[in-house]
């Protein structure tokens, strides 16, 4: 940081390198800064998480709270240089006469805008924390990004039966596609000794190509004619997937 005098004004200008901290939250300070050149970021910290609040470029002013009758001398947020920047420093005493003469209505509008800015900053802080928490949850559960979107084409023999495990309603076929939330099953309609119904709950047993045997409980959500004659396509949605089955299936579904 270097202090220099500008040719056009008698006001001190400060030069900051990219990454320099200009104001630290909680510090005592009265100066108001105007960005002359470069780009700075206002941010706050909450539970040691950094929350960016705003990015300011040439012409914008930082530290105006001091002037606007706020009874605070501690900095409400930190500011750092995002690029090499030049800032002009104003001491509030320089502005106090001008400020006294400022029409009450304009003071009032500025004060209101500041109030609402502070409220919006709180909203941003809350949302940023929530977003970071969500990101952490996602990291803990590596399958969640694939869960909704990833569906793999397969051809796996399976054996299924009704939830009450009656030997009579056992049927076999082939799993044509599978995801962590459901599967498409092809069965020979002639082999069925009983009518399948929508919403029926079945237990499907199969062996994945990685040799893992899995057993899942699923609900039939669609029944359609299959591509080849004499076949039916069942759409099923998994209702119960043990943590182990979820892991084995998850590994299998990982993009190669």
């Amino acid at each position: 940081m270097n202090t220099t005098k500008d040719d056009h004004s008698s006001l001190p200008q400060l030069r900051y390198k990219k990454g320099d901290l200009i104001i630290k939250e909680g510090d005592y300070g009265l100066s108001i800064y105007k960005v002359i050149q470069g780009k700075v970021q206002i941010f706050t910290e909450s539970d040691s998480v950094e929350i960016p609040l705003a990015t300011l470029t040439a012409g914008e002013v930082i530290g105006e709270m001091i002037l606007l009758d706020r009874d605070i001398s501690q900095r409400a947020a930190s500011v750092r240089a995002l690029e090499d920047s030049i800032l002009e420093v104003w001491h509030p005493s320089m502005l106090s006469n001008e400020y006294k003469e400022m029409p009450s209505m304009l003071k009032y509008i500025a004060d209101q805008a500041l109030n609402r800015l502070v409220r919006m900053n709180k909203v941003i802080a809350k949302l940023t924390r929530k977003q970071q928490q969500n990101a952490m949850l996602k990291r803990k559960d590596p399958w969640s990004p694939q869960r909704r979107f990833y569906r793999k084409q397969v051809d796996l023999p399976f054996v299924a039966e009704g939830i009450d495990s009656n030997q009579k309603d056992r049927f076999t076929g082939s799993i044509k596609d599978i995801s962590l939330s459901g599967a498409g099953l092809e069965i020979g309609s002639k082999k069925l000794a009983f009518p399948l119904q929508l919403d029926e709950i079945i237990v499907i047993n199969t062996t994945l190509p990685n040799k893992k045997e899995i057993s899942v409980t699923a609900q039939i959500i669609s029944i359609n004619q299959g591509k080849s004659p004499g076949t039916l396509l069942l759409g099923v949605s998994f209702t119960e997937l043990s943590p182990r089955a979820s892991k084995d299936l998850g590994f299998f579904l990982l993009p190669a």
Binding site: M102, L106, L117, I124, Q131
Partner: protein, 132 residues
């Protein structure tokens, strides 16, 4: 909050709104400034996820300053909707701009910067709500 006495000399017109009636429509042109005189109003913004309520303004609070001071834009950046019956005052823009011309360049940049930051922060809050 009470409505400050000096505000009344700026009020050009008073308007009444029914519950859920729009006072300002996002995206429409306009540069009137308003003050809430009775009741309360909500600030709402359209997002890809639907309408988002960003703030609630009470008696005495000002709205509409973004389109007045962010030069050349004059486009409403959010909607303001009455929450229950509300009475608002429309402020005399000519008088406000005359006041603004009378202040020092430093105070002008301070005020403009503040309003710009308020507008940016509002936009950012809306974007974050959609992502979260």
């Amino acid at each position: 909050m009470d409505v400050k006495q000096f505000l009344y000399s700026y009020i050009a017109k008073e308007e009444y709104y029914e519950d859920q009636e729009h006072i300002i429509d996002e995206g429409r042109r306009g540069d009137w400034l308003y003050v809430v005189l009775e009741g309360q109003v909500k600030v709402k913004k359209m997002t890809p996820k639907g309408v988002l309520t960003l703030d609630t303004l009470q008696k005495g609070e000002i709205f509409g300053e973004v389109s007045l001071w962010l030069a050349g834009k004059g486009v409403r950046t959010a909607s303001v909707v009455a929450e229950g019956p509300a009475k608002v005052g429309i402020l005399d823009t000519d008088q406000l701009l005359k006041d603004y011309e009378s202040i020092s360049p430093r105070l002008k940049s301070l005020m403009k910067s503040l309003i710009m930051r308020f507008a940016d922060t509002t936009k950012k809050a809306a974007i974050l709500s959609v992502e979260t």
